[in-house]
Amino acid sequence: SGLFVQIIITAMSFFGFGQSADIDIVLNDAETRKKAEHKSEDGRKDKYFLFYDGETVSGKVNVTLKYPGKRLEHNGIKIEFIGQIELYYDRGNHHEFVSLVKDLARPGELTQSQTFDFEFTHVEKPYESYTGQNVKLRYFLRATVSRRLNDISKELDIVVHTLSTYPELNSSIKMEVGIEDCLHIEFEYNKSKYHLKDVIVGKIYFLLVRIKIRHMEIDIIKRETTGTGPNVYHENDTIAKYEIMDGAPVRGESIPIRLFLAGYEMTPTMRDINKKFSVRYYLNLVLIDEEERRYFKQQEITLWRKGDIVRKSMSHQAAIASQRFEGSSNPERSQSQSNEEGDS
């Protein structure tokens, strides 16, 4: 039967059925690493391994030959870690802001299925993964077996979240706006920077009401801006509409606002990411009168992502990340730092 297999394989090569392989990328911490949900371009929600800035990405690449016993000739096997921005109107051009490569095998041949280890140490992941209406920012591993005619490759997408800590300065937003002699209101929001699971607490105070208001609502608007200079394009999307008043207010009345953000799908505010795009959020206060006329005031808020990992390990991560820039590894110092903070 050995000879029989040999004949088949020779026949297959003769007819162009060359050897091929399946590639599989497996992370070393696949069992323990958390996954995060991320919406793809077509709206589907999938789960991906979650990484933060500074974390090491390590694992194994399994190259499994399709036809056992036959050699796989190749021009090199490598794995890349890529962070890139893709603008939908310019799909051909990928803007790579992170591009790391590790060679796994020099040009040669594989006689049997093989597994290669890889490690990208303390990888910089400066931006959060984002899939939007006109632009996508993604991180992925790509393992490639280069061949003369056609490469074999496999990609593994990961999701990156950027974390912030409580901002030192977080002033409230308070403003008096209106139409001269017609409608004057004072609106107040308790903060200007909110984390994604925060609550917007505010109030609308009526100073002058000479129109017949029927209804008031707060909308959350997400604005995705792509392009630069004369080619700037804004895509506005109303994420939420939240009624805060039904009926006619009079002078001196104060209407409270309490809006829980955790119920809405939002990302952190992203400003001028790699000079390619921005994602900003606005609160739009809308008053509607008896004749359906709309009066509105838009105000930007900053959204940020709060980490839910324990403070001690957060500072450990930060210490690792800071080592990249300081150039010297000083584990003693960073360890004692993290111990101190853990005790406080």
Binding site: Y166, E168, I179, E180, D181, C182, L183, E188, N190, D198, V199, V201, G202, K203, Y205, L208, V209, R210, I211, K212, A248, V250, R251, G252, E253, S254, P256, R258, D289, E290, E291, R293
Partner: protein
């Protein structure tokens, strides 16, 4: 700065409302009635006029209670002035009913009771919608229409606000 695990959702402090404000008349009182249709003239030159009565406490109107007589073409004039001079989207008037002006109809044509009522109601809706619009309230033509005895078609169009007011 440490923050608690549960967000503080207490209301922001606000001034207690003055009871006169709470229970007093609202500052946005504005009501316009279009009623009492009267047929003026004889024969083929007859036309209908309506009483237009406005009651308001808005400071922008000079008279808090005014009463004038207007006909359909006056409403058309107002609509045209506003469309030309202001940035507002002017609501539609009830129809011109040209067919009703043709002879040999089985009914009273323009002076049919049901038609007059339909028109009266449409004109009332129209004028209430316009008069409540902050931008329309700035126009000379609206104030002339509502509060002056007759419309001077040779008037100088303009805004009612003081042009020279600087803040």
């Amino acid at each position: 700065m440490t923050e608690s695990a549960v967000a503080d959702t207490r209301r922001l402090n606000s001034k207690p409302q003055d009871l006169t404000d709470a229970y007093g008349p609202p500052s946005n009182f504005l009501e316009i009635d279009v009623y009492d249709p009267q047929i003026i003239g004889v024969g083929r030159s007859r036309y209908t006029t309506y009483e237009v009565r406005m009651r308001t406490n808005l400071p922008i109107f000079k008279l808090k209670d005014s009463c004038v007589r207007r006909r359909y073409s006056d409403f058309e004039w107002l609509k045209n002035e506003l469309e030309r001079d202001s940035k507002i989207v002017v609501p539609p008037l009830p129809g011109k009913a040209l067919k009703r002006q043709l002879p040999f109809r089985g009914d009273e044509g323009l002076f049919e009771e049901s038609f007059i009522e339909e028109r009266r109601s449409g004109l009332e809706q129209f004028i209430n919608r316009i008069a409540g619009h902050p931008l329309a309230q700035n126009e000379r033509c609206l104030h002339m229409f509502l509060q002056e005895e007759s419309i001077d078609r040779n008037y100088i169009p303009g805004k009612n606000i003081l042009q020279a007011s600087f803040i």
